[in-house]
């Protein structure tokens, strides 16, 4: 479903050209569970942003569902992000002034889904993630685990094919982190491809496929 061919990503830092990704070749199928590990600065997040269409490769080809998405313009990329990709972040990234249900609803609103359809879908997600009694709470009234559950519910509201999680447990205690990982892993059973960036080997080792990155290259795969 995801295929990267000879993908590189260079950044200009002053006069210097820095390669964040060098010649990445990678294919990920629907329902795959992939963890990306490596030291900071190894290009894990850059790879994730690239797969999430928030960034473009300097060279190489990125195909999503067989379609070359490398050269799409902003509007088309936004559409692909909206329909196929879900993001979960380390710092949750909830909109502080919106309630839990409004935060979950946000991708549906942006996609222009009619209010009645949205309501049913949000309702269902609140139930699934145990947030039914937190519907009208704002993020600052929620615990860390609840916040990340809202974020996961939001990421899955549009039924994405790929879920990208960047250190999703980084701001959580161990028990809550394990619970959040459990929720994400459950999604792979529904044929969602889960790509997880972490530097916690305990979590990374749970994935069926584990990528290790160093200096912008994938050095080992299992």
């Amino acid at each position: 479903m995801i295929s990267l061919e000879h993908v590189t990503r260079n950044f200009a830092v002053g006069d210097l050209e820095v390669s964040a990704l060098r010649d990445i070749n990678l294919t990920i199928a629907a329902g795959d569970y992939v963890s990306i590990m490596g030291p900071s600065g190894s290009g894990k997040s850059t790879l994730l942003n690239l797969i999430g269409l928030l960034d473009r490769p300097s060279s190489g080809i990125y195909r999503l569902d067989g379609r070359d998405v490398t050269s799409l313009d902003d509007e088309e990329q936004a559409k692909v992000r909206s329909e196929k990709i879900g993001f979960v972040f380390q710092s949750f990234h909830l909109v502080p002034r919106l309630t839990a249900s409004m935060n979950i609803e946000l991708p549906l609103i942006l996609a222009g889904i009619p209010p009645d359809d949205r309501k049913a879908r949000v309702e269902e997600l609140l139930q699934d993630y145990g947030l039914a009694d937190r519907t009208d709470h704002r993020p600052d009234q929620l615990s860390g685990g609840q916040r990340q559950r809202v974020a996961i519910a939001r990421a899955t509201s549009m039924h994405p094919a790929v879920l990208l999680a960047d250190e999703p447990t980084g701001n959580l205690d161990q028990a809550t982190g394990r619970e959040v990982i459990g929720l994400l892993e459950k999604l792979t059973e529904q044929h969602v491809a889960l790509i997880l960036v972490t530097h916690d080997p305990m979590i990374g080792s749970r994935a069926k496929r584990q990528l290790h990155m160093v200096d912008g290259q994938i050095v080992s795969q299992t």
Partner: protein, 399 residues
């Protein structure tokens, strides 16, 4: 994204920061208040002045001796102006579409009755003068419709002149000395009040020919001519010009239609209203700068959120619209508050100072609100574009 959602999402931020939004909206509100208040007073003044003039009727033409013109040398006796005579006025009576013609001579003279004396304005006119001045007879009758050359020595008193000289007595039939000549009182006018500072009640009316004699004037000061409302003004003017030119041999008189005079006056007053409105507009501009400031801050503070929206599938255009509408809502709501405030203060002023004419045309209110929305949009464009162009990866990384 649905329009209703766009507005709901856009307003969520101003709602979350109530105090800040209130103060920002206040800037625009004060501007709109100033605009509405100043234009209300300007427009009230406009209507007041116009109504003062137009009570005389709009289908009046005033004919005065002398021609406004600029020429080089002194033209000697050939350039002399022939006075307008009562015969000139009489000749105009028979022109097509003319309703009535009234000659006019004005001056000051001493009145004497029963040992009391008083100096008042003396207006020499004809039978139709009350129609020209839009005034009514209260007692007796006005000057009769008779041949001007043989007009009898009748006088009609203004309300104040009567009050001062007769104080409660019935003046009808008594003899009053006007500038030393004996006149018989045949009528009293209804009180009229002041018109542009002239007390119209402290006057007496006598036949025009006798007034010319009294003031030792060779001709009339003015001829009032009323034409049928259905008639074409230009053709009436043309026929008057032709008739008088035939009598005088050249155009040595000036025609001033009331309608044209009102038009000129109206446009002058419009400029004044516009000018005071523009003064208020300056404070509106300051309000716009307030919105620009707050929106620039909002984009910096919410960079992270902008990155998130983009990750969740928002297009650049959607981010642009969200911030534009937020700026526009701030100024539109501020503008509405300003409309209410300006209108309220204008009405309050009118309550306390009834002499101050105030009028708020709804077009001004609508225009002011549109200007407020326009200022909001203009102030929002730069911050909104900056928000839309942020790189999503950088924006997400900003804490």
């Amino acid at each position: 994204m649905l329009t209703s959602d766009l507005i709901r999402l856009s307003i969520s931020s101003p709602l979350a920061y109530r105090m800040r939004s209130l103060l920002t909206g206040l800037g625009i509100a004060i501007g709109i208040t100033a605009v509405i208040l100043l234009t209300s007073i300007g427009e009230g003044l406009h209507q007041f002045v116009l109504s003062e003039f137009s009570q005389f009727g709009t289908n009046l033409i005033s004919i005065q001796p002398g021609k406004t013109q600029v020429q080089g040398a002194n033209v000697g006796i050939f350039g002399s102006v022939r006075p307008l005579s009562i015969e000139d006025a009489m000749a105009l009576r028979h022109l097509p579409n003319v309703e009535y013609v009234d000659p006019s001579v004005t001056g000051n003279a001493e009145l004497r009755f029963n040992g009391k004396t008083r100096r008042t304005m003396v207006i020499g006119g004809g039978h139709n003068l009350p129609r020209v001045m839009a005034s009514r007879v209260q007692l007796g009758s006005f000057l009769p419709d008779e041949e001007p050359a043989s007009a009898r020595a009748f006088v009609v008193l203004g309300a104040k002149a009567r009050e001062e000289l007769y104080a409660g007595q019935n003046p009808l039939g008594s003899y009053l000395k006007v500038g030393g000549q004996r006149y018989r009182v045949i009528g009293v006018m209804e009180p009229k009040g002041q018109i542009l500072g002239f007390d119209m009640d402290d006057t007496v009316f006598i036949p025009a020919a006798r007034a010319m004699e009294l003031f030792n004037r060779p001709g009339l000061m003015e001829i009032h001519l009323s034409y049928k409302a259905s008639a074409d003004l230009d053709s009436v003017l043309r026929s008057i010009t032709e008739a008088l030119k035939e009598r005088h041999g050249r155009v040595d008189f000036t025609l001033t239609p009331q309608a044209k005079a009102l038009e000129v006056l109206g446009s002058v007053l419009d400029v004044i209203t516009f000018a005071v409105g523009a003064l208020g507009g300056i404070s509106l501009l300051v309000g716009g700068v307030g919105i620009l400031t707050i929106m620039t801050m909002a984009v910096s503070e919410r960079t992270n959120e902008i990155g998130l929206l983009r990750a969740l599938g928002a297009k650049q255009k959607q981010v642009l619209m969200l911030f534009l509408i937020e700026a526009m809502l701030l100024s539109a709501l501020g503008g509405l508050a300003g409309l209410a405030l300006g209108f309220g203060i204008a009405q309050g002023l009118h309550e306390f100072i009834p002499a101050l004419p105030v009028h708020t045309p709804w077009q001004f209110a609508a225009l002011a609100e549109l200007v407020a929305i326009g200022i909001g949009l203009a102030a929002g464009v730069a911050p909104a574009r900056r928000a839309a162009r942020l790189d999503p990866v950088d924006a997400l990384r900003t804490e």
